[in-house]
Symmetry: D2
Subunit: 280 residues, 4 copies
């Protein structure tokens, strides 16, 4: 078995835990690769150093929050490498375990007591294919407090013309992230669908819309002179000009996660209803 390890670098405990995990796995004769930045901080494991986008492994362990997973996933890109997330962030909706469960959980994983969960990603076109989104793409103005005028089409049928601060096109994974803050429904990851949620629409009666995962969504920027940007998973930005179209459809490449338990709704209850959520 080959396992990669990635961590947030701004959390000292994350780098420490990465070291402990590496030692643990090496003793178990697992082939281990560490994100180059971990190696440069630890000044150990120099021969195990590897860029995330070059890790040729069976599983990547991420230490951090959902941001760490979103960034790692975008570097994995189309390769089928499942992520096993240890939660050291504030959200942890995509992560699987808490830091104190690490070694117990790793034993389970090494014993094959896990399953792989697939999550749909969103393919995004704007002149060319952009990075796929695991959570969502947010269309928003480049200047805060200025609204966009958008036309939304689903499979060439016009859904709505809309004035709003922005627009979210989310996957089911993204339904518990920013789309939720903007008033969207919770969508079970097993639903083959995307969610369209306007941000502060300037009209009463605008509602979130759930469209088929097989549909093609086109959003056109209508207002002359205005520029927008598309922000993908909070990681990448792309500038959109007047009358340009952004096209969304299901990516052929899913994201994969190592899971020990089925707990989507438990996470919804604990993280969103009781505890509140913090997306950074």
């Amino acid at each position: 078995m080959r396992i990669g390890i990635v961590t947030r670098h701004d959390i000292h405990r994350g780098v420490e835990l990465a070291e402990e995990i590496a030692d643990f796995l090496i003793k178990k004769n697992i082939e281990v690769f560490l994100d180059r930045q971990i190696v440069s901080e630890l000044r150990r494991f120099h021969d195990l150093s590897c860029e995330i986008d070059e890790m040729d492994v069976d599983i990547i362990i991420t230490i951090g929050g959902d941001g760490t997973i979103l960034r790692t996933q975008s570097l994995i890109n189309s390769r089928k490498i499942p992520i096993f997330g240890i939660n050291m962030g504030t959200v942890g909706f995509l992560t699987e375990i808490a830091p104190e469960e690490t070694f117990h959980a790793l034993k389970e994983v090494l014993d094959g007591k896990y399953f792989i969960e697939e999550r749909t990603r969103l393919e995004v076109w704007h002149n060319r294919k952009l990075a796929p989104a695991l959570n969502e793409v947010v269309l928003m103005t480049r200047m805060p407090a200025k609204m966009l005028h958008l036309e939304i089409k689903v499979d060439e049928e016009q859904v709505e013309e809309l004035r709003a601060d922005g627009l979210i096109i989310a996957t089911p994974s993204g339904s518990t992230a920013y789309a939720m803050s903007a008033g969207g429904p919770i969508v079970d990851p097993r639903v083959d669908a995307f969610i369209i949620v306007p941000i502060c629409p300037f009209k009463l009666g605008s509602r979130p819309t759930v469209v088929s995962g097989s549909s093609v969504i086109k959003v056109r920027l209508l207002r002359e002179g205005k520029k927008a940007k598309a922000v993908i998973d909070g990681q990448y930005e792309e500038e959109i000009n007047y009358m340009e179209e952004v096209i969304f459809s299901k990516s052929k490449n899913n994201a994969y996660f190592v899971r020990l338990t089925k707990d989507f709704y438990k996470k919804v209850r604990e993280k969103l209803i009781k505890g509140g959520i913090d997306l950074e």
Copy 2:
């Protein structure tokens, strides 16, 4: 070709239009069957009289609103007979044309210029299989203003324990009906999903949930001494007792509709946003 005709009886113009349609179709050598009540009002077509649940036809034309379609569909039950709805009701979300378009539209249909749209239905179990729902099942108290205490499970995972006035389990077709009034999202009929929407939940932070069409939803009545009822498509009622479970899954039998144009989002804009909606 064999065509059945059904109408609301409390609208005089509906019975008249049924007569005109029958005359029109007979001239075109179509085999026509009329709902027995139309025949008894018209005192004509005695030999064409037929109960809805015995109509062995290629298409049933309904004259009325969505209520007429929901009632007709439940009588068609598992037979694959598409409905062509002429809107004489107040909603007309499931209907296809306005009365003044009738004969132009019928020519299109006779010329084969139409397509069949399938709509998912919800199978409902409570001790036995109940009538399937095209729009929704509403769980509510038998006494107004008393709330229910419910446990919701999806594929055996607990989603929520909930105190609320009631609970809606809706199909995508139902997303533009009662579920929308209770705050649910608009769900494109092509999405393979069901929507769970609480009615006046007694806690901040309860959200509509969209679950997979392949999932099994179980709702249990938790509060001792309370009785609830399940109302299916506003047509049928079933009493539910304390600690009993109602089980929802996708019906094997879809509903079928004769469609001339793809206009789901146009209907959403016109009927829900601009005009408001009246479900009776």
Copy 3:
């Protein structure tokens, strides 16, 4: 000082606590009156027995939830007797202390370390003056799942014509009760206003409306053949017929509460956001 004691009778611990409070106060030479039902259960204090609506006291202590306070308040009616609520119910939004704080809190009260909070009540007219509402009046159908058609006027200006399951006219006190479940805003009790919240309105874009406490709100039942009922604070019901009007304005008689701390927003956070709410 003269103090009355009222309790929910269906909670044994409530009757016990009433006895302990009575003994405690009598030792302190307070003149005590007990709700007649407490006396009949305890078989003590026969000479202190008193109907709630005849209690001529400085403070009434209630043991129970918000329902107990709403019922007691309606029996106090226009007399200026502040209520001191000990929470043995599930909500306790109007109550002040938990049972275990009872004797410490009573000492504070006897030492004068408290303030009186006034809460606005809603005067309700339908042919005659009905009981005033401390929380809300709910207009709803007499048959579940049948909607009302209503016209709402504020100071003779038409606000809206509305089809909905029901309508809530709430005081700021009621903004954290049923009105909240129906989607209304939280309104600080110091705001001189009433809140109009439709229940499951059959149109997108209907919003809660906050109107001045000096305004007169008139609601007329428009739909022929339909009957509605007005439920006042969940305690009293009044039948409303077609074309009849119910008129709401600020009551001249406030409700009064004994308070030890200013904690409205703390209650909102603890009872509504974290713990959920149960209105029975």
Copy 4:
């Protein structure tokens, strides 16, 4: 009588209408003042040219949308000059008449057939007194898509700690503007209250809150390293640093409007529910 005239300069028809109104009023022997920019475009009325903030008049006529009124009102500042708005913008919630009604309406006004409506304004403190807000103050990040961490206090009681894209503190006038887009209730202008509405809060269960017009609202920026800005009526911006507080209370100086009819709810129905709203 002395009347000032102000117009949007980017609409040719606005400048034309300003000229027609000036000619009309001068014939009626009204003393007229024109915004200097109108004069420079028309190359007439040089001796009537006047800066808005120096207009010493009984009424100011504005030609444009709500933006024109908000800008004019902020230049009038504390002087009691009522505004009479002719709607050439897209919203026109604060405006009174359509352009084609201009001369008929002006006759009414000259005949004294009007009333003055007062609207509350919000005083804003941040190190010093800022421009008062007629509609709202929006606290938002200086970088789009980064959220704020805020603490809200009302009269020194903590209301909430909140992570959100932003926060709106609105007057009742502002309840039909940006606060509505973010999910706030409609608040009748006669209510003495302010509305606190979070923008995309990162937690389920956050609700708009209506607080007393007599209250002092304090909002503190909690997150280290983050900067925010306060945008007043979409006109003025002020930078806010980490741990700084912005303080809101009722302004001593109201805004005044010339009104011909009472039509708040008619505007809500027509502009917000039917037509949608466009705030630019």
